[in-house]
C-alpha cells in the first residue's frame, strides 16, 4: 500500500514539476514542441479511442518520458499500459486548460470514480504465434528508441500504426543489424 500511494505521490510530484525535466531538456537545446489545437479529430490517423488521450501533449509538449507510463518495457516482454491510478495520480490536480481538454480529463476522473477502466483500442498487435520481447530490444537500442518501431509518438495527437509489423519488416532490421534470424527466435 505504501508503494502504491508512493507511486501516486510520485505522479503528482512529476506533474507539479513538469517544468523540471523540461528545463533539463532546454539545457540540451532540444526544440520545445507545442501540441497543436485539434479542431477536427475526424481527420486524424488511427482509431478513435474512448478517451482522446494526446501523446503529443503528454510525451511531446510536457516531455514526460515514455517509461513513466510504459514502465515495464525494460524488464518484460510487455511494455504495459498505465493503470488508471497513474492517470489519476496527475489528473487529480490537473484539470486541463481548455474546455476540450477539460472534457477529456473529466472522463478520466469519472472512470476512476466508477472504477470502470477505459477499453483502449489496441494499435500495435502481433499474432499469437510471434513473440516480441520488448526488454531485449530496449536493452540494445536504448530507452529512447521507441520511435524506431512506433514512429514519433511525441507528435501524434492520436496514435496510429507506424510500421507494418510484418515479418519482412522485422527481418529487414535483423539483417541490417546482423542479429539472429533463427525461426525459433520469435516463433516458439
Amino acid at each position: 500500500m505504501t508503494k502504491r500511494s508512493g507511486r501516486a505521490a510520485a505522479g503528482v510530484a512529476v506533474a507539479l514539476f513538469v517544468a523540471g525535466p523540461a528545463a533539463a531538456q532546454d539545457r540540451q537545446a532540444t526544440p520545445t514542441y507545442t501540441a497543436p489545437v485539434i479542431s477536427d479529430t475526424g481527420k486524424l490517423a488511427g482509431p478513435r479511442q474512448p478517451i482522446f488521450f494526446r501523446h503529443d501533449v503528454h510525451a511531446g509538449q510536457d516531455k514526460i518520458p515514455c517509461l513513466y507510463c510504459h514502465n515495464t518495457v525494460t524488464v518484460s516482454s510487455e511494455p504495459g499500459i498505465p493503470a488508471l491510478q497513474t492517470c489519476f495520480g496527475c489528473h487529480q490536480m490537473i484539470a486541463g486548460s481548455t474546455p476540450a481538454h477539460q472534457a477529456e480529463i473529466k472522463k478520466v476522473r469519472e472512470a476512476w470514480t466508477a472504477k470502470k477502466p477505459p477499453e483502449w483500442i489496441r494499435i500495435h498487435a502481433l499474432p499469437g504465434f510471434v513473440r516480441f520481447p520488448h526488454m531485449r530490444h530496449i536493452k540494445v537500442l536504448g530507452t529512447e528508441s521507441c520511435s524506431t518501431c512506433h514512429g514519433d509518438v511525441r507528435t501524434m495527437p492520436q496514435v496510429h500504426q507506424f510500421a507494418t509489423l510484418k515479418m519482412g519488416w522485422c527481418i529487414n532490421c535483423h539483417v541490417q543489424r546482423q542479429v539472429s534470424r533463427d525461426c525459433t527466435l520469435c516463433h516458439y
Binding site: 515495464t72 491510478q85 483500442i121 489496441r122
Partner: protein
Amino acid sequence: MDRRRFLTVLGATSGGAAALSACGIGPEPTEHLVPYIVPPEEQIPGTATYYATTCRECAAGCGLHAKVREGRVIKLEGNPESPINEGRLCSRGQAALQGLYNPDRVTEPMARGPNGEWQRLTWDEALGRLAAKVKDARGRGIVFVTGLETGSFGDLVDSWMKELGGRRVAYEPFAFEALREGNRLAFGTATVPFYDFANARYIMSFGADFMETWLSPVGYQNGFTRAHSFDGDRDAAMAKFVYVAPRLSLTGMSADEWIAAQPGTEGVLALAMAHVILSERLAPAPPDAARLRDGLATLAPEKVAPFIGIDAKEIRRLAREFAGSKGGLAVAGGVAAQYATGAQIVADVNLLNYVAGQIGKTVKFGPNQALEGAGSFKAVTDLATDMGAGKVALLLVHGANPGHSLPAAFSQALGKVGYKVSFSSYLDESAAASDLVLPDLHPLEQWNDSRPRAGIYALQQPVMQPVFTNAMHAGDVLLRVAGRPGTFNDYLQSRWKELHQRFGKGRDFSEFWTDALQHGGLYGEAPSQPVRLGPGALETLAWAIGGNPAEQVTLIVFPSMALHDGRGANKPWLQELPDPVSKITWHGWVEVHPETAAKWQLANGDVLLLKSPHGAVRAPVWITPGVRPDVLAVPTGQGHKAYGRYAKDRSFNAFELLDDKPTAFGGRAFAVRVSVVKTGDHRRLATPGSRAAGSSKPCRSRRRVGSSRGRIPSRRSRHRRTPRTRSSSGPRRSTSRLHSATTPARSRAGGWRSTCRNAPAVRRASPRVTRRTTWPRWARSWWCGAAK
C-alpha cells in the same frame, strides 16, 4: 451494390470485421487494452511472480510456489524448500486452482428466507445476525466444527469458543485415529511418528496407501522413490517393497510383492514375523522386547498361517528379509487401519518395527505429524448425538463437510439444531442445510499458518486479490463478531512475534516475517525421541490370538486418490483424472475379482445394488484381479447431493454404506458386510480409450476381426497386431454391428471388435452378442499373471 462496396461497408462495422475474419479473410478482430484501476503489487505484465504459501487440500501441509501472472495465480508447484514435499506436488494440490476459480463459489453472504430460499445479505447484516445468534445461543450449546486446523485460525476458534462456553470439534473423515490409538497401545504415546522411507532398506506396507492419501503422500513418495532406486548416496541396493492388503492400490501396484492376506489378519502377520525375528534372533531387539516373547509364542507362523491365508514358509522368509535388511520399515494404515480392529493392527505392526530394532531409525517419534488436532470420529458422532438431543443451539461449520461423509446421522440431527452457520466457499451438503452462509476466502487468498509436522511452521499468504471480492476471511469474521480489534493478519503476526522471540536470531520482526513469508514458513528439525513398549502392548497380543476378524469383511471403502473424502469432486481436473488403477473417470465403481465376477455372471459396467446394514448404493462393476475374490472395494468421493455442478448427483456416495457408530478406538470402520443384488442395469465405464474406435489410444487387446477370422491370437501376436486406429472406422458402436447379420457394417472387414475388458459397451450395444460368462483361459492367465 457491387462486391467491393459491400465489403467496404461490412468491414467498417466491427461485427462485419469479426464475421470476415472468422472466414479467414479481412483484418484481425479489434483487440482492446483494458488497464488496471490499481495495479496489483509486484506485478510486471508479461512476467510471472512467484509466492510461497501452503497447500490446504489435505492434512499433509505441503509447501507451494504459486505462479502469478498479471495478478492472477495460474499454476501451483511444490516449494523446494519445504521439507515436507521438497518441491513436489500431487494432483490434488495442483487442482486447488479449480477450487479458487470454481464457478460454484458462494460470492456473498446468504441466509435462508422464510420460504427456504436464499437471500443475499450485506456483510453488516450477516455479521449482525451472527452476533445476535451467538448472544442467543450462549449457554445453550455452541459448537464449532472445523477441519484440521493446527495454526492460528484453530487457536482463534478455540479461544473464542472458550469465551462463549462452547466447544470445537475437528472433523477429518480420514483422521488416522487408528494410528494414534495404535501407537498409544504399543508405546503409550498417541502421536503419529515420521516414517523415514528414504533410508529404509525394506518396506512393508500393511494397507497404508502412502502414495495416495496416507498422511503425507507427496513426502512419502519422495522418500520411497529414493529408497526404491539405485542411485543416491547409498550402495546399489534397491529397497524391496512388500504390500499387504486385500486390494491392490496405486501403492500396491508399485510394490515388488503383493500379499493379499485375509482381511483383518494383517496384524497377525506382523506378529508372526515378529515371532520369527525374536525366536531366530535375527535382529538386535531392545532389551524389553523379551517381554513379548511369551505372548508371541503362540503366534508361530505355522500356527497362524492358515488363518492369514499364506504359507508359513512365506512368513518366515518375509521375517528374515525384513530383519536381514537392517533397515526395515513396516507401516500400517489405509484399509488395515480401518477395520473395527484397526488400532490393534497398527500396534502389531509397531511391535514388528520394535523387535526389528527400527524404532528411532526408520520410525522416528519426535518430528510427529500434527494430527492431534484432527479430532476423532467419535467426537463427531457424539456431536451428532448431542445435536439430535437438541443440545446444540448454534452450529458453526468451517472446512468440513459432515453432511456428505456422515449422510444419515449427521444430516438428520442437523434438523434439531437451532441455527446453523457455514463458512464454506461452496454450497456443499453441510452449507446447503445451513441457515446462514458466510463465504470464506479460498486458502490461496488468505492469511493463515499451520504446523503440519513438529518443528515446521508453515505460512499461508494471499497470492492474489480475492476472485470474489465480497467473500471474507472467516478469521476476520470471528474477530469482528467477537468484538476484537484488528484483522486476522494482525492476529497471525502477533502470534508469530512469539516465534520471532524463539527463532528470530536478533533480526527485527519485519525482517523475520518477510523472510518467513518468502520461504513459506520456518523449517526446523524436531529431535527424535526414544519410545519404549507401553503397558498396553501385551493386551494387543491377547487380542490377536482371540479375535477372528476374517468374518467381518466383504466390502472395503477406500479413499479416492483424486477426490479424497469428496472434497475434490467439484474440480473437473480431478474428476477427469483417471484413477491410477482402474482408469475410471467421473464416476465411482465397485471392484470385483474375475472369479467372483464369473461366479455371479458379471461384466464390466453391470450395476450392482450393494446393501449394507446402514445403507445401499448402486455401483457399476469393474472387474480386476487386484482385489481378493472374497472382497469388494468401492472408492469414496462421489455421490454428492450438492457441492456444485461438477459434483452434484454424480454416481454414488460410498459413505452411505458405513456404520455411523465409532469403533472401539474412536475411528470409523471402513469395512462392512454387504449383500449384493444384480440390478440388470448397465453403464459404460468412463475410461480413456473406451469411448470411440477413433480414439488415439487403442485398447491393447482389441483385435482385428476381419483378418484373424475370429481366431484368438497368441499373446505375442496380439501385441504385434495392436492396431493403429483408423479415423474412418467411426465410433465404436458401429463396429460392434459386425456381429449383427442385418447391418451392412458387417462387410466392413477391418473394423475392430473389442475383447477388451474395459470396454463392455461394444458387447452391450448389440443385443445379439452373448455375454461371456466365464473368463477365457488366456485372459485369466494373462491378467492374473501380470498381477502376481
